[in-house]
């Protein structure tokens, strides 16, 4: 039996920083996706929302909040929270429900309004909470990104200029994207002169937080055929695997890794496990990939993803960006949307936004960002506490 579901419609509210109610962005994106799908809201049978933790109780029940704002119509509802992978988990819930035959057409939606500055933990003296603890010890999100970046430099000989090339590429990609927040082509000089935040990462190489909303209308292949959309882009895989013990890379928010001291226990990399599962599910290999949308929480992290997605051998990612392989017009474009570099992160919407970009590219509707012959696209992201995801779309 085919495990594919159809992407009938996608839509986004542009990313920015306005501080409006998150559900406004969600409703806007949902209406765009419905319009794109050409189906009325009343026909949606399941609403799968991605939660936001920074907008009070309505954010915890985002699926219902957005369904109410669209107008109650009796659909079943679900809300998922998985940090940066929330949007993918919401998509996974919709996919499971469709493949189980419990519904035919679903709305997947995520939206966020974010505070200014560093994301900070809940207050009080709470050393048993690793997220509280690491801030108390002075270890912020950029600290982790910088540890990964510095390790690349010492192990593989990557340079600050290599990380700068990633930022330049993404800023050029996002320049014409109407949904991007930052539309400015940066030069190497501007990047390398921006303030050092966590050596070797500078301000212009670290992702900001944004407001934004993204939505998809997905359905069974049967339903797509019935409404004349048998050729819709398909979701071929949604991987949301947890790490495997012993998880050997320091990940936010922990201050220590698992110990691999026990007999029979091996050290594993969490990031590499995510796309591996997606490739298995889809029956598609890295050699089939036309483009990728990856989580460039820092410019350097994009290079780690090239290797975790098996687009090149470990340690050789910088070569791809130096040769222009991953820019628009290259053999394997990455972050054609502009990535987090041009968007900033709107946590529950971001994983969905990645899938929106792949959809536009596979349909040939990406405007000036359009790449040639896009057939298969893959996303990858990671969040707190072992959450991450990888989604594969195919024509």
């Amino acid at each position: 039996m085919s495990q594919d579901i159809a992407v009938l419609g996608v839509g986004m509210h542009p990313w920015g920083k306005w501080g409006r109610n998150f559900s406004e962005y969600g409703v806007y994106a949902a209406r765009e996706a419905l319009k794109d799908a050409g189906i009325p809201w009343q026909d949606v049978q399941f609403v799968s929302g991605a939660a936001t933790m920074r907008c009070g109780y309505p954010g915890y029940v985002a699926g219902a909040t957005i369904a109410q704002a669209l107008g109650w119509q009796g659909a079943q509802v679900n809300t998922s929270y998985a940090a940066c992978a929330s949007g993918s988990q919401a998509l996974a819930a919709a996919r499971a429900k469709i493949l189980a035959g419990e519904c035919e057409v679903a709305l997947v939606v995520g939206a966020d309004t974010t505070p200014k500055g560093f994301l900070a933990p809940a207050k009080g003296y709470r050393p048993e909470d690793p997220d509280w603890l690491r801030f108390y010890l002075g270890i912020t999100n950029p600290s982790y990104f910088a540890l990964y970046a510095r390790r690349r430099m010492d192990l593989y000989g990557d340079t600050e200029e290599d990380f700068g090339l990633v930022k330049i590429k993404n800023s050029e990609n996002g320049f014409t994207n109407p949904n991007a927040r930052y539309k400015k082509k940066f030069t190497m000089e501007e990047i390398l002169n921006s303030a050092m935040v966590a050596d070797p990462l500078r301000l212009l190489q670290i992702c900001a937080t944004s407001d934004g909303g993204a939505a998809m209308i997905v359905s069974s292949m049967e339903y797509a055929k019935r409404i004349g959309k048998a050729n819709a882009v398909k979701v071929a895989a949604v991987s949301t695997v947890t790490p495997t013990f012993a998880s050997a890379v320091v990940e936010m928010p922990d201050i220590a890794t698992d110990s691999a001291a026990a007999a029979g226990v091996e050290a594993h990399s969490f990031r590499a496990a995510l796309p591996k599962k997606a490739y298995e599910q889809a029956g598609i290999g890295p050699e089939d990939v036309s483009l990728a949308e990856v989580y460039d929480l820092s410019s350097a992290l994009e290079l780690d993803w090239y290797e975790d997605l098996m687009l090149c051998p470990r340690g050789e990612a910088a070569q791809l960006v130096r040769e222009g392989t991953t820019k628009l017009g290259g053999r394997l474009p990455v972050n054609t949307s502009g990535g987090l570099a041009c968007f900033g992160e709107a946590v529950p919407a971001q994983a969905i936004a990645q899938v929106c970009e792949l959809t536009w590219q596979l349909r040939g509707q990406a405007g000036e960002r359009q790449i040639a012959n896009a057939k298969v696209g893959i996303t990858a992201n990671q969040g707190l506490f072992g959450h991450g995801s990888s989604v594969i779309l195919k024509k």
Binding site: L133, Y136, G138, V197, A246, I255, A262, A263, V265
Partner: protein, 144 residues
Amino acid sequence: MSNKPVQAAIEGWFTLDADTPHLIGACCDACGTYYFPKTLSFCKNPACDSTTFNEVELSRTGKIWSYTNACYKPPEPFVAEDPFVPYAIAAVELEKEKMIILGQVVKGVDVDQMKVGQTAELVLETLHEDDDAIKVTWKWQPQR
């Protein structure tokens, strides 16, 4: 210098010996998996159902897995000096325990004095002071 008493910033996470401090971890009685912070409830090795642990002092030295610094003041609960003084951070891999532990690096050492693979030793240093005490924490001291 302040005459305030010295206290652990986080009680029970490390010994307070001035010369040879240790992180206090746990080791599973059944499978030998180490924990920091110490776990004394259920073993996290999926192949082990043990609930018995021994409190252990972890190795005081390891190899630097990676390193960075903090050029901007982190948000609360971090307690910053005024004006803020940047500090370095290291992730250090302990050989026997086969795990990586993060921590600040001692004052006066920045990223240009570190390399992946370099040996680092655990020491105690002030994290911050409050009205009643000097709060110390573990920090990594890279070896030359």
